[in-house]
Point group: C2
Chain length 409, copies 2
């Protein structure tokens, strides 16, 4: 077994559970005979290129701090969207990175991120295969988008789904108060994969009916005529309607609705997101009161309302990443497969990073209804376990208490 130090870093968009994964990797690596110093790489690969490392054993020097980290949203170590080679100096970058590894005696490298970030693991692994080296490169999954392949679902998704479903329930309650026809269009994240929008299907009114009447995903062609017909069908049975759209909804030709040069009835161009465009068209065609609500970054940052299962699984996958590294693996990501049968459970393994990097897993047709405007029973069955359980987070003066690197450095 190799003996040396390790780096943990975070990359891509923040989530509410990415720090739980960091805590899991840290806990998994702590006290291991093969691992000496545990470095945090700041701002992902971009910071590591510049040698920006912190010693995590000094930062996370108490159980209390590690626990606080687990319920802190956003990327504790900072993040980046840097793709290796984008500078056009890939060879020089690689030499620089491996020099940082050598200087710091790095034998294990854990990169917490989504499909773009897994490309970094792939590139490092390929470079090492052709140039030599003995660093274990392990991908640790996270993304609210849930669009990684070879894994049942991604850490971070469950908490985002819980926040979205809860917000949709509350928006539905809010919109139902007036004795008049009205429509709310809720926009959630997801450019190519509609998992987050689909999670709104979990939202229920208190009488058990779905809180989201219509849900549109980027996977299935969006068309305004169909939308209006769908709305009119819902209007036959209720006056206040909640519609959920992915930011990435697109027409049959692949044109994004959010990027269309829609003009409202005043001839104003609509900027803003998909919901704003949909709002303008509904207003124009149906003359009904419409409001667009964009859940925006809150859906990925809402540490005050986490899925306990998501946080627990995030920690666990972090620990499993260390186990995989110590078992001699490299160029893999930690993955999960849902067990068959009625009881929820996961089987954890690893998958070659080639199968994951730069791939996207979209919502399958079997998870939506025949009209492609809502979830199927199979979709609900898939989603439901992921939002289970609540986390009581530490509070201070009426507000959530969160971990801070700059405070603990």
């Amino acid at each position: 077994m190799k003996i040396g130090n390790c780096i943990i870093a975070q990359s891509g968009g923040p989530t509410a559970a990415i720090n739980a994964t960091l805590a899991g990797v840290f806990q998994g690596a702590s006290g291991q005979f093969a691992i000496g110093r545990i470095f945090g790489g700041l701002n992902g690969i971009e910071g590591i290129l510049n040698g920006r490392l912190v010693e995590l054993q000094k930062v996370l020097d108490s159980e209390e701090k590690i626990q606080l980290l687990k319920t802190t949203p956003s990327s504790f170590l900072g993040s980046c969207r840097y793709k290796l080679g984008q500078s056009g100096q890939k060879e020089a970058e690689m030499q620089q990175l491996f020099q940082v590894f050598q200087e710091n005696n790095i034998k294990y490298f854990f990169y917490i991120g989504g499909n773009d970030s897994m490309d970094t693991i792939l590139q490092l692994e390929e470079y090492q295969r052709s140039h030599g080296g003995d660093v274990s490169f392990i991908g640790v999954p996270k993304t609210i988008d849930n669009d990684l392949t070879c894994i049942d679902h991604t850490p971070g998704f469950g908490s985002a789904a819980k926040y979205i479903a809860t917000s949709v329930q509350e928006i539905a309650l809010d919109t139902a108060v007036y004795d008049m026809d009205s429509i709310v269009v809720v926009e959630v994240m997801g450019r190519n994969a509609g998992w987050l929008a689909l999670s709104a299907a979990l939202a229920k009114n208190a009488d058990g009916t779905p809180a989201a009447d219509l849900i549109y995903l980027p996977e299935f062609a969006f068309d305004y005529d169909t939308l209006i017909a769908d709305i009119q069908k819902v209007q036959e049975r209720k006056r206040q309607i909640v519609i959920v759209v992915s930011e990435g909804i697109q027409d049959a030709e692949g044109n994004r609705i959010a990027e269309a040069a829609t003009k409202d009835s005043f001839g104003h161009g609509q900027l803003g997101g998909a919901a704003k465009h949909v709002e303008a068209v509904i207003k124009e065609r149906l003359g009904v009161k419409v409001r667009a609500v964009e859940l925006n970054v809150c859906q990925r940052a809402a540490g005050h309302f986490l899925s306990a299962r998501d946080v627990n699984e995030s920690v666990m996958l972090g620990k499993k990443a260390v186990e995989a590294a110590l078992a001699g693996k490299s160029g893999v990501m930690v993955t999960t497969k849902r067990n068959d049968g009625p009881m929820y459970g996961l089987t954890i393994g690893t998958t070659e990073i080639e199968k994951i990097a730069n791939q996207e897993k979209v919502v399958p047709e079997s998870f939506v209804n025949a009209e492609k405007n809502g979830a199927s029973a199979a979709g609900i069955a898939y989603l439901k376990p992921l939002i289970q359980g609540e986390v009581t987070i530490p509070m201070e003066d009426g507000l959530p208490k969160y971990a801070s690197l700059s405070r603990w450095l």
Copy 2:
């Protein structure tokens, strides 16, 4: 003491605590010798005009239901924005209303609402004074806007403030992850009164610094040159900046920023709210990455994250409204005054509705800093007690469980 029935109704925009007030009035009225049947008026005065009453003793027939009602956001009985006389048939409306009162032997009328709703109480009281009658008309305060006069703060504000401050903390964490200059502009509600925007001043980074770097309220003239200068001053010490604006910010001439015909650099007209306009101007003038985030209706509907003090006070003021009615009062609203001294406490009383209806309490100059781009120490001291305490709400299948009138009818 008059013996008869009562009506409770809700009006104006929903809040996360308005049903706690309803529960308080219901609990206060239940078992009173003077009060027989407790009716809920549906959709406020608009529904009552049409005789739309439900018997609340049948709807809220268990302690469990009453408790669930207390943590359910939005208006359980429905709401309206109806102003008496707006139909031009005020005399006919009044006759109709008093006929509904007479037919149902109504002696007590509790109206839960904001300053517009208090106008309804005023009109009913005035009509009765000139035409005779023996109904007690009691206003029960609620509004997230905190803009009612003669009261220390309004029920519903504390929970909205807690949600806003928490979201701003989380947005600040989210925006800090990349190693680049960036600005987020968060828009909160408040057309004429900036209380909700001011509450963002409670939000703290984990290192204790304010999470909202700049806060702009409708009470003080907003000017783009000052904004840019303010931003540049903050940029001297940090790279990621969070700005909070009230939806109602306006220039020195009283022109709303949200209504300006701002064009972005592509010549597109900006619709959307104040934050979208501010975003476009910052982008144009500073060329920095900017994102607008509108907290929208979630800030008044977020029953999943309540201020315990707000919920408790809402219940209490509901009960006090019944006490005031039974003590023979009419044409008043239940009000509070904050006790002097370091310990938070309220003295509860009633105030004549004439002093409250159609009035607005705005943020005083003493509550903001000299630059008028943030809270003063006095402002913070005022706000802080209002967001204290958490509420553990009932959950079902990973999502909040909320009360539903249609289910219990």
